[in-house]
């Protein structure tokens, strides 16, 4: 009888076309753990890629927007960008110190320059005026400053973006997966081991009780250990009754032994200079591991015998490939390992270390590989349990296909299947048969959350596919099962469910009346989901007519999901990832005396508590003109009106009303449009004359007009284009033209980004003292409110927010990850004796725990 697993998390009512021939299965989904941090969607291609029209239209190409990024950097971190250069030049400038005399000819007195700057009006100020001194300085220094910054920073930024882009395309760090299952002493108990935390640096051990019929239950709070780096891979194995957990971080690898009672016992920690890329636990000898690093070295490691280098070769095996990724696993012989790189797989013998073992797999003709195909994952499929399959099987995954190889018959794959995953397949697991003589399920998981299941039967000891491969429901497929939410919540939920899949652990609970399989999935957001799959006889041969899918969620799962969702929605909405710093210290200084004390007080209080500075902490804002109202006929207005109407289910009425009274406004609207188009086309001509690759600006009326921004852009283009004008325009007319330009509405802000990059000297002036713009600032109180853009204060806000803590007390199922775990204090103390490198108890510094996007690492 051919059998296959099927399941679905979908409610059949919500998904009409769910007409699989296998039905009657119930799937359910439950989150056991919920991370406190708001899920921060990872870096997207949109953040890095050039969005404008690229000159070569022939092929779709990815072009990284270095200029835009550099421009942002110069704006936001002018001190970092220009600081070192300023330090170098400091000797040659007298900034008002008395010691530096005028005798030295190399020293320039900047007193007047500074004075000019003191009254400096930032870009955008219509009354901006450049003194001759300033102009001279910027003309002389501009090239030097500009070139230096361009060369140094540009190179570094380019490199950084390149690595980010590579990681975005193929995030090899999470190869192998960071979710492990350790079976317990009793048959239906076990532990899940997985990382959580913003930096994935908290290793959790969650006890789980399985049940043959009901859903698994989390027993108590997870105990946790705080590590120094992000956990990339978790490997678990039980050999000879000893349950071991190995963890790979970027520069550390660690090994724990799990006792049935009591906390995990740390065995040893290994520190590596180069980044570790793979770790695996021996299926033969307890406590033996294979570790490999980016240097090309592969070591056999055991707490008793220490490290033994088996293989070291910085070059790739078959042909030259730039990737330094390596992977190591075991074979049927406990002393022989397999070492993988992107081009192939080869044996490495621990008894006679050499760099040229026999090849087991190579990207080439034997496996009829495609052009550009590379090894992404290699895994030894043998286990100590006697399986129906031969213990000599190895799995190799590339971006296109899956290969099964027998180590006795190298190079020629026994089986090849095109998996069709649209994300790198970095997770795989072979499971024991759900009942004797059933085919063995082999799971394959892509980083994007897609799952494939193959059924391997070992009749005659050669592996065969017992049934056509299947796809399993991914997390996002469970979306229709959730209640309908408001758009914001819906988006939050969607993002959360779409988070990359970073761990996969499947369990076949022993002694179930009907064969079943539990599938735990860890997402990058820190959620652990599970689904239960039932084994069903293959009914496809009997009738083509599919029965209606009888898939539904169990009530308990529904309740659990709702609780999870509730907690998720209670998390404060994520702030925009970056807002330009609008806080102005200068403005504070200019406040009246009576306000000053209050402001300082508020500031201090906020700093002491480490939270965001809110408007309420500051004094009431200086009286100012009300912000300009909405453009009466802007598109947003209509949209929001219409939305409001449709929320109240009066959309049709609104529409009718619009149709009747639309003529007059339309006229005015078109006039408005023409005006903006005119002005923007003017500015675009101006800018494109200088910079040929500027995309044409999109004419769109300014939303909430922010004089600060708008004007800065105009005046900036004014400054920039000055050089050209000087040649062509009579002197007496320049001022008039300048005034005229200053009054013009701004072009799209995207335009001005490139000029800023091109003229960093004026940039350095503007960023050195960003706050001295009293006039425009007071016009728009909105830009003054402090949206702290700094990541530090941002995360501090969340970790200290009493609300986010109280979430846990409300939710019995989501465990308090932050509550100090008394059991673990002792662990840390006991580690002193045996561990070389202790995982520190310190909370990692906030900056370190940030996703890198927030704080670009520039090598400074």
């Amino acid at each position: 009888m051919e059998t296959s697993f099927i399941s679905s998390c979908l409610d059949c009512k919500l998904l009409p076309q769910n007409s699989a021939p296998f039905t009657k299965n119930l799937g359910l989904l439950l989150s056991l753990i919920f991370l406190s941090d708001p899920w921060d969607p990872e870096l997207m291609s949109q953040d890095l890629l050039f969005r404008g029209r690229v000159k070569q239209p022939a092929r779709a190409k990815a072009t990284i927007d270095v200029i835009e990024q550099l421009n942002h950097f110069l704006w936001d971190h002018g001190d970092i960008a220009f600081g070192p250069l300023g330090m170098l030049l400091q000797e040659n400038f007298n900034l008002g110190e008395k010691k530096k005399s005028r005798k030295n000819k190399m020293v320039m007195n900047t007193e007047w320059l500074l004075r000019d700057l003191n009254g400096y009006q930032p870009k955008g100020c219509p009354w901006a005026h450049l003194s001759t001194r300033q102009r001279r300085f910027s003309l002389l220094g501009g090239t030097v400053l500009g070139e230096e910054v361009e060369n140094l920073l540009g190179g570094l930024l380019h490199e950084e973006l390149e690595t980010r882009w590579k990681r975005l395309l193929l995030d090899e760090a999470s190869t192998g997966g960071a979710l492990g299952w350790v079976p317990g002493a009793k048959p239906h108990h076990g532990q899940l081991v997985y990382p959580t935390g913003r930096a994935h640096d908290q290793l959790n051990f969650q006890k789980v009780k399985l049940s043959p019929t009901n859903e698994p239950q989390a027993l108590g709070d997870p105990s946790h250990i705080l590590l120094r780096g992000p956990v990339r891979q978790v490997v678990t194995r039980t050999i000879q009754g000893e349950a071991l957990v190995a963890v790979r971080s970027d520069h550390h690898c660690a090994l724990w032994k799990l006792e049935h009672r009591g906390p995990p016992e740390p065995l040893q920690v290994l520190e590596m200079e180069k980044e570790a890329t793979g770790i695996s636990l021996s299926p033969h000898l307890p406590g033996e591991l294979a570790v490999c690093t980016r240097s090309g070295a592969v070591c056999l490691w055991s707490p008793q015998h220490g490290l033994q280098q088996i293989h070291k070769d910085p070059e790739t095996f078959v042909f030259k490939d730039p990737s330094s990724w390596r992977w190591a696993d075991f074979t049927a012989h406990p002393r022989v390992l397999t070492v993988a790189d992107r081009t192939g797989l080869r044996f490495a013998d621990a008894r006679a270390p050499s760099d040229c073992g026999e090849l087991l797999f190579r990207v080439g003709a034997e496996a009829s590989c495609q052009r550009g195909e590379r090894v992404l994952l290699a895994q030894y499929l043998g286990t100590p349990d006697p399986l129906p399959l031969s213990p000599t099987l190895h799995l190799v995954c590339t971006q296109f296909s899956l290969y099964l190889l027998d180590e006795r018959l190298p190079l020629v794959p026994l089986l090849k299947w095109n998996h069709g995953l649209l994300s790198p397949p970095l997770l795989a697991q072979l499971l024991p048969p759900p009942y004797p003589e059933a085919p063995l399920p082999l799971l394959l998981g892509g980083l994007g959350g897609h799952l494939r299941m193959l059924h391997l039967s070992g009749s005659g000891r050669t592996p065969q596919l017992a049934a056509p491969p299947q796809s399993l429901p991914s997390l996002i497929d469970s979306l229709p099962g959730f209640p309908v939410l408001e758009p914001h919540g819906q988006q939050l939920l969607q993002e959360r469910l779409r988070a990359p899949l970073t761990g996969l652990a499947a369990v076949v609970p022993p002694g179930c009346p009907s064969p079943t399989m539990l599938l735990f999935q860890l997402s990058a957001a820190g959620d652990v989901f599970y689904q239960r799959l039932w084994l069903q006889p293959d009914t496809s041969s009997e009738s083509a007519v599919s029965e209606p899918s009888a898939v539904s969620w169990k009530p308990r799962a529904v309740a659990c999901c709702r609780r999870w969702l509730k907690t998720l929605l209670q998390v404060p909405p994520t702030l925009p990832s970056w807002t330009p710093p609008t806080f102005s210290q200068h403005h504070l200084r200019w406040l009246k005396e009576e306000n000053k004390g209050k402001v300082q007080e508020g500031l201090r209080a906020a700093m002491a508590e480490g939270r965001l500075l809110l408007q309420g902490d500051l004094a009431p804002l200086p009286p100012s003109d009300p912000p300009p109202a909405h453009e009466p006929f802007g598109t947003e207005d209509k949209l929001s009106e219409r939305l409001e109407a449709s929320w109240e289910r009066k959309g049709a009425i609104w529409w009718d009303g619009q149709r009747d009274g639309s003529r007059l406004p339309r006229k005015r609207q078109s006039r408005e449009k023409r005006r903006t188009q005119l002005s923007s086309s003017f500015s675009s001509v101006r800018s494109t004359s200088d910079f040929s690759d500027v995309n044409s600006p999109l004419p769109h009326p300014p939303k909430t007009p922010s004089p600060l921004h708008r004007m800065s852009e105009t005046s900036q283009s004014l400054e920039l284009s000055q050089e050209l004008w000087v040649k062509n325009i009579p002197r007496e007319r320049r001022q008039t033209l300048r005034d005229y330009l200053a009054v013009l509405p701004s072009p799209d802000s995207g335009n001005c980004s490139i000029p800023q990059f091109q003229n960093p000297s004026s940039q350095s002036l503007s960023t050195s003292e960003p706050g001295k713009c009293s006039v425009p600032c007071s016009q728009n109180p909105r830009t003054q409110t402090l949206f702290s853009p700094l990541p530090e204060s941002y995360s501090a806000f969340y970790s200290q927010n009493p609300n986010s803590q109280s979430l846990y007390s409300q939710n019995p199922n989501s465990q308090s990850l932050y509550s100090p775990e008394p059991a673990f204090n002792s662990v840390f103390h006991s580690q002193n004796s045996s561990i070389q490198k202790l995982p520190s108890r310190h909370t990692p510094s906030l900056a370190g725990s940030q996703p890198l996007r927030k704080k670009p690492r520039m090598g400074f």
Partner: protein
């Protein structure tokens, strides 16, 4: 990932041009790259509506296949046929193969499909374009074989073989060879059927003669084709076996031996343990001298030390007169037990226990020490741990006793495994325990090292 640097040429032209020219590394191809680029919105080739709809349709089909929704997939496939008229010539050329792959998978699994439908589909697809004729014919034939329709399959292969289009390309040639080989295999199948018929015949000479002649003609047809395919480097176990069987039947022992030797020892062929096993079995049947058998198995021992035929090899070596063979005999046994699949192989353990005894009595203790030296750091945990002692004793007492004896010899009387088993054995008054203990006390290699 140098694709990336090339792509940046628009910005940093000169640098990357140098880099691209000096480094002609083939790039990694990421099928999900286009998705990433498309997600940035305005950038990238948008593609026509036609291309979009077909690609969406293809996704639907693949999804349905992976969910085993054959009916749904077949409905989508009907729409997908439009790709055959794609304006993009590259896609148009690829289309028949994709359709064939999808369609054959659907028809293979669809509960309502039958051989006629499949054949009709295959015949249609063969003749769209010219590139896929041979491939589809071969797969069609295999499908027919799978359904037990040998004659149809044969006819199909025959037809495919005679098909010609233009000049033969390299890939075509390979496929033709493969088709011929399969035809040869079917000829062999008929031949062996005839052979059983002839042997069961109890008729007059004339009928037998005619049948034998008939058989012979099949042999000739098959041998030509099979001989061709096994010249090409590859894994051709089935073809080689049938070819050798026919050669043997007609008494061409030299030919058969030659074929098997070439298959085993040709360096162009991928390493294949089966080739050595076939050769060994053939030689054994031929009653070849033991030295020859040993030399064949020696190579197999180097390739696959864990093969079960190695136990036979051990016996051969044991019987041999040469001392070096005796020494190798121990190594062969130890090598078998190195492998995780053989840890509970009771035959191997009992051979080892017996052989150790024999060696020690024969005063070759240094052999044991030599073999042990490379294993002493991991065998104790791999074979002789306390956990395994308990487990083996519980599951298989004889195995436990054999292992305990070996562990006692190799690790001395203080070994956990030995102690546990002898204690348990003492409890139930197992007879052999005493003799075992006595021997171990006297002869374990640990104590003898100290002396």
């Amino acid at each position: 990932m140098d694709a990336f640097s090339e792509e940046l040429m628009g910005f940093v032209q000169k640098d990357n041009q140098v880099e691209a020219s000096k480094d002609p590394v083939p790039e990694i191809h990421l099928p999900w790259l286009s998705q990433h680029i498309q997600s940035t919105g305005s950038h990238g080739q948008k593609g026509t509506n036609f291309a979009q709809t077909t690609s969406i349709c293809l996704n639907f089909i693949q999804e349905a296949l992976l969910k085993h929704q054959w009916q749904r997939a077949s409905e989508f496939l009907q729409c997908y046929l439009q790709t055959l008229e794609d304006i993009n010539s590259q896609k148009r050329q690829m289309a028949p193969e994709i359709i064939w792959k999808l369609g054959s998978t659907i028809l293979y699994n669809h509960p309502k499909s039958n051989v006629e439908t499949f054949s009709a589909f295959a015949d249609r697809m063969k003749n769209i374009g010219v590139q896929n004729y041979l491939k589809i014919s071969l797969q069609h034939a295999l499908y027919l074989l799978h359904n037990g329709m040998v004659e149809d399959a044969y006819r199909n292969l025959n037809q495919a073989e005679s098909w010609r289009y233009g000049e033969m390309s390299a890939s075509q040639e390979k496929l033709i060879k493969l088709i011929q080989a399969y035809r040869g295999l079917l000829d062999y199948y008929t031949w062996s059927k005839k052979r059983t018929e002839v042997s069961s015949f109890d008729m007059d000479g004339f009928a037998t003669n005619a049948a034998t002649q008939d058989m012979h003609s099949y042999f000739r047809q098959a041998s030509v084709n099979l001989h061709e395919i096994i010249k090409i480097p590859g894994v051709w176990d089935t073809f080689v076996k049938s070819y050798v069987e026919m050669l043997e039947f007609y008494g061409d022992q030299d030919g058969a031996r030659q074929v098997l030797t070439d298959y085993a020892y040709d360096n162009n062929f991928p390493s294949n343990p089966n080739a050595h096993i076939y050769l060994y079995k053939f030689l054994k049947k031929e009653k070849a001298p033991e030295d020859k058998l040993i030399s064949v198995l020696k190579i197999l021992h180097q390739i696959v030390p864990s093969h079960k035929i190695m136990l036979e090899f051990h016996m051969l070596l044991k019987k041999s007169n040469k001392e070096e063979h005796h020494k190798l005999g121990l190594e062969v046994l130890l090598a078998i037990l190195d492998f995780s699949g053989c840890t509970e192989n009771i035959t191997a353990w009992s051979y080892l226990a017996k052989y150790l005894k024999q060696i020690i009595k024969g005063k070759h203790r240094e052999w044991v020490q030599e073999g042990w030296s490379s294993r002493k750091d991991w065998w104790p945990t791999f074979h002789f741990s306390y956990y395994l002692a308990k487990k083996n004793w519980k599951e298989n007492r004889i195995l436990a006793l054999k292992k305990a004896f070996t562990s006692g010899i190799l690790l001395g009387k203080g070994c956990k495994y030995f102690m546990y088993v002898s204690k348990q054995g003492h409890k139930i008054r197992e007879k052999s325990i005493k003799t075992m203990k006595k021997f171990v006390m006297k002869h374990n290699i640990l104590d003898s090292e100290e002396h």
